[in-house]
């Protein structure tokens, strides 16, 4: 079962990385970043589950990580709103505005 969750984590990681690189919309990039961190956390916790006995230290690390992720997202969103007010676009690519 744990092997299955490791594979799941890698699949989600790859999908999120793809989204992070390909999507131009910054809001979408932020969501991809959040999913990316979730996948990393999934990997860590699955490793903790495989340990004998169950290792709670990765759990604590992941809790810290979740809070840091939400801080990052909040700052990113605040910057995004400022960027939109200034440039009228949600992408960083100024030459290719639709």
């Amino acid at each position: 079962m744990t092997g299955y969750y490791l594979i799941l984590a890698v699949v989600i990681l790859a999908m999120a990385f793809h989204g992070l690189m390909v999507r131009a919309n910054l809001l979408r990039k932020l969501m991809a970043l959040n999913i990316f961190t979730s996948a990393v956390f999934l990997f860590l916790v699955t490793l903790a589950r495989m340990a004998e006995p169950l290792d709670p230290i990765p759990h604590a690390m992941v809790l810290t990580g979740i809070v840091v992720t939400v801080s990052t997202t909040a700052v990113g969103l605040a910057l995004l709103v400022r960027l939109y007010r200034r440039s009228g676009s949600l992408t960083l690519d100024s030459s290719n505005d639709d």
Partner: protein, 322 residues
Amino acid sequence: MAVFDLILGLLLVILVRKCLSITDMFGAVISFMAFGLLMAVAWVRLEAPDIALAEAAIGSGLTGALLFSTLGRLPHSETRQPLVPRGSGSGPGYWLVTGFWWAAAMVLIATFVFSFQELQTPGLGGPLQERLAESGVLNPVTAVLLNFRSLDTLMEIAVLLAAVVVAWSMGYVDWPARQTIPSPLLPGVVRLLTPVFLLVAFSLLWRGSHAPGGAFPGGAVLAASGILLLLSGMTVQISPRGMSWLRWVLSAGLLVFVLAGVSLMAAGFGFLVYPEQWAGNLILLIEASAGVSIGAMLLALYVGGEPDMAPSQPNNPVSRPQ
């Protein structure tokens, strides 16, 4: 139960795909929140109830609220942008790079499939169990967060505070405007539920010492209660005096943490090295102040900037495009 995990994983993958490729941004945010809730189920399956609580409260709930409030600040046309701007997303360069990282991911998966039995697992569970009695709490995750690795938690609260500082330094926002509430239902229900929210938040705080819970889920529930109050049309006029109080509340968690560490150092123990007989009480004190601060900081991040104190037209708030 393997079928359950299989379905769960499939749903997670489908939701990620939906979140990252549906054109409608509103739908993407909904998919993202559903992904977070299903991740909480996955954490329970992996025997990590602490993370399940934090993921449901912070990872899905509060991040979703943040995303929605950002969507509300953008004009409606922006939320239905075409996904890929013209000219990108095709061509040999794109496929070369995409193919490269997908191939790398597949190789990684194959490596796991063939060798995950020999994968090094973290093995500190045993030593942690042995020293749990010294920590002053019974929940191993809380023991790691607030005793054995308390410096990490200190830094984490500092990161959260830094995020609030960055958000505030980007200028004032008008206090979320009183929206036209279609019915008295929402304010009524919120009035009914706010005491329940407070009860749950402090019960989570208290439970943290012996069961899953603690300052972070507790603070998130506090912030959720504040967000609901704002959504149901509550407006407060913040005086300059209230503002300075707000600043103290925001930084209380970090201040108490640092003060505890420094006074322990002055007493000759070392920074955040708790003497065994006080450890439980110290952890409770730090956790309580951190919980209240975390709630206030998450709420401040939801508001998105420094609330404008200027008493400009208090009865005629600026309407913002929804």
